[in-house]
């Protein structure tokens, strides 16, 4: 897909006849009028995608008066540090607590569910055993049931068993990741060779050792992908924490921000803190996206090829 400079194509006669010319994809000249329409479309879409976040970054530097009085897309009085200070000290620093809870839910839940999924996906990929078809069918079926649908039944059961409104109430349901099992199975099928496993068996390694010392190192990139998807899913989740938690000290940051925005009396007062709090809540996830882009793409392309 290398771009061929326009002048070469136009000034070299032999390129205009014969099959070589056709090997150059039409439309590699970005400044051709036809492409300008496409380029314009991409630019407009990029503006659409990025403007709200740009606005958020600017708005987090304003006080309540400037939020409504000044031009939305440019700076007014620089109030960011006051906002941050107030954000982290309001209600005895409950926002910091929310951030801590979110990291706890996302890291512990994401890590544990990755391990559980990798064990299961590896078993489905590398062993033939009675019931493997059934288990795989259940995994696929469960992947079609969105967490939102599960949340209400999970809450009913948790409150019956008496652990609603605890850390466990949010953490334990996140351990289930059928999508992770599905991904591991594909990944292990493609990358852990049967010959390698057979050779290790001949050398006398037991199955657990084969898994830990041979399969896991090969599966690490796939595990990072699964962890990321689960981490972000937990970081962004709202419905489950909303219904199972009532103690603000256990809230993740999403739920905390939502309760601030639900508070009609304090809404005027809280606007700038909601804006600043939103920015702070978004930054870690965006940072992870940017740092680990290739793992995202790996996960998405797996889904697209096999789904």
């Amino acid at each position: 897909m290398a771009t061929v400079p326009a002048d070469i194509r136009e000034t070299t006669p032999e390129l205009k006849v014969g099959s070589e010319r056709r090997e150059v994809p039409i439309g590699t000249r970005i400044w051709a009028p036809k492409n300008l329409i496409g380029l314009g479309f991409l630019v407009v879409m990029s503006i659409y995608f990025l403007t709200p976040l740009y606005w958020l970054a600017i708005a987090a530097t304003k006080d309540n008066t400037d939020l409504s009085a000044s031009v939305g897309l440019w700076f007014a009085h620089f109030n960011l540090f006051t906002n941050l200070g107030d954000l982290f000290t309001r209600q005895d620093g409950v926002y910091g607590r929310w951030l801590f809870n979110t990291v706890l839910y996302a890291v512990v839940g994401g890590g544990a569910s990755t391990l559980i999924s990798v064990l299961a996906g590896y078993a489905l990929a590398k062993y033939r055993f009675l019931g493997s078809g059934l288990v795989y069918g259940l995994v696929l079926g469960a992947a079609l049931v969105p967490p939102t649908t599960l949340a209400l039944p999970v809450y009913l059961l948790e409150s019956k068993l008496g652990f609603a409104n605890t850390y466990w109430a949010v953490l334990l349901p996140t351990l289930l990741s059928p999508f992770g099992v599905f991904l591991t199975r594909i990944y292990a099928n493609a990358s852990v060779s049967d010959d390698l496993i057979a050779a290790a068996r001949v050398d006398g390694a037991n199955e657990l050792r084969i898994f830990w010392s041979i399969a896991v190192p090969i599966l690490v990139p796939g595990m990072i992908t699964i962890f990321l998807f689960q981490f972000v899913a937990i970081w962004n989740s709202f419905f489950l924490p909303l219904i199972v938690l009532s103690d603000p000290n256990l809230f993740p940051v999403n739920l905390g921000l939502a309760t601030w925005s639900f508070d009609p009396a304090a809404h005027e007062l809280l606007t700038r803190l909601i804006v600043t709090g939103s920015l702070v809540a978004v930054l870690p996830v965006i940072a992870i996206f940017l740092l680990l882009q290739r793992y995202w793409r790996a996960g998405l392309s797996f889904g697209s090829v096999t789904g």
Partner: protein, 321 residues
């Protein structure tokens, strides 16, 4: 589900079978128990947080609280009511109101979002190869924004006193539309969903496009097909599994709509307690603490989502062959 499993496992099978033939593995060796050991944690979690909640939910949905005395003086008793809760839900105008609204939403919003995602993916695949990394990133970043924050963010864009859109229009002496009125609110929510998920779908489509071998295009070019014809006749059929996947996730997401309307409720009076099926279920089960009726609604909603996904997959699979 059985044919789906076969279809997904089909491609790697010959290679795996060949490997097994060269290294015959006894089927009943000491390793026979290991796959079950590896599966155990997953199965435990699956039973505890998938099977058990649904079983409990459904078992509760056959009960209701009834006042014995009729005047409400005696304490309520929990009695078996059979399918009454389900019949009540199906007849409930609130449930139908929400379901109708999300279906209308899906009918309009999903095609717009898919069209945008496909357009961006096709442009990046063939015509605009420069700045590709930037465009890909710009489109994908909204997906990193938690749904709640996205909803809060856009609610500022819809609130006249703060909105930069209103500001811009007013500076041009134009009347800004009311984003939060009864006739516009659904499409304001549609815009939030489109903003969040276009990039996600685009990346799925783009990854599939990039996996198509370049040689396939060459014969088409020799036959004189232009880029549009190549896109229509070669690319779209080849990425149809990705299109299916994107559509399926969008369909499921639409039926579950909750976060955005729940947040916009703060700034718009047009979000009713029956606005979407999930908001309806939340109001019955959590706000009114009617676990029995709420349990039935949750079960119906789960069943509807599953049936929609299942029918969709069957239907589109037939088209592929």
């Amino acid at each position: 589900m059985a044919t789906e499993t076969e279809r997904l496992t089909a491609p790697p099978a010959p290679r795996a079978a060949a490997a097994r033939a060269s290294n015959p593995r006894p089927r009943l060796s000491l390793s026979g128990i290991w796959p079950y050991v590896f599966l155990l944690p997953f199965l435990l979690v699956f039973i505890a947080f998938f099977v058990a909640p649904f079983v409990y939910d459904i078992s509760q949905s056959f009960y209701a609280e009834k006042h014995a005395g009729g005047l409400g003086l005696a304490p309520p008793k929990v009695v078996w009511v059979g399918f009454d809760n389900y019949l009540q839900a199906i007849k409930d105008p609130g449930f139908r109101d929400g379901l109708g609204r999300v279906l209308l939403f899906g009918l309009i919003q999903i095609p717009i979002m898919m069209g945008l995602a496909l357009g961006i993916a096709l442009l990046m695949d063939s015509a605009i190869t420069r700045f590709r990394r930037f465009f890909r990133l710009a489109a994908f970043i909204p997906y990193a924004v938690p749904g709640i924050v996205a909803a809060i963010l856009w609610s500022f864009f819809y609130t006249p006193t703060i909105s930069p859109i209103t500001q811009a229009l007013q500076s041009l002496h134009l009347q800004a539309p009311d984003f939060l009125g009864p006739s516009t609110i659904l499409w304001s929510i549609g815009n939030i969903s489109t903003w969040e998920f276009t990039g996600y779908n685009m990346l799925i489509f783009f990854a599939a496009l990039q996996a198509i071998p370049q040689e396939l295009y060459e014969s088409a070019r020799i036959d004189g097909l232009n880029e549009v014809a190549i896109a229509r006749r070669i690319k779209l059929p080849l990425i149809s599994p990705a299109l299916r996947l994107g559509l399926l996730f969008s369909l499921i997401g639409t039926l579950q709509l909750f976060n955005e309307p729940e947040i916009l409720k703060n700034v718009s009076g047009a979000i009713t307690p029956t606005f979407t099926p999930n908001i309806f279920a939340y109001n019955i089960a959590i706000i009114q603490t009617n676990f029995y009726y709420g349990g039935a609604i949750a079960a119906i909603l789960g069943a509807i989502t599953f049936i929609f996904s299942f029918v969709f997959m069957r239907f589109t699979q037939g088209n592929q062959r």
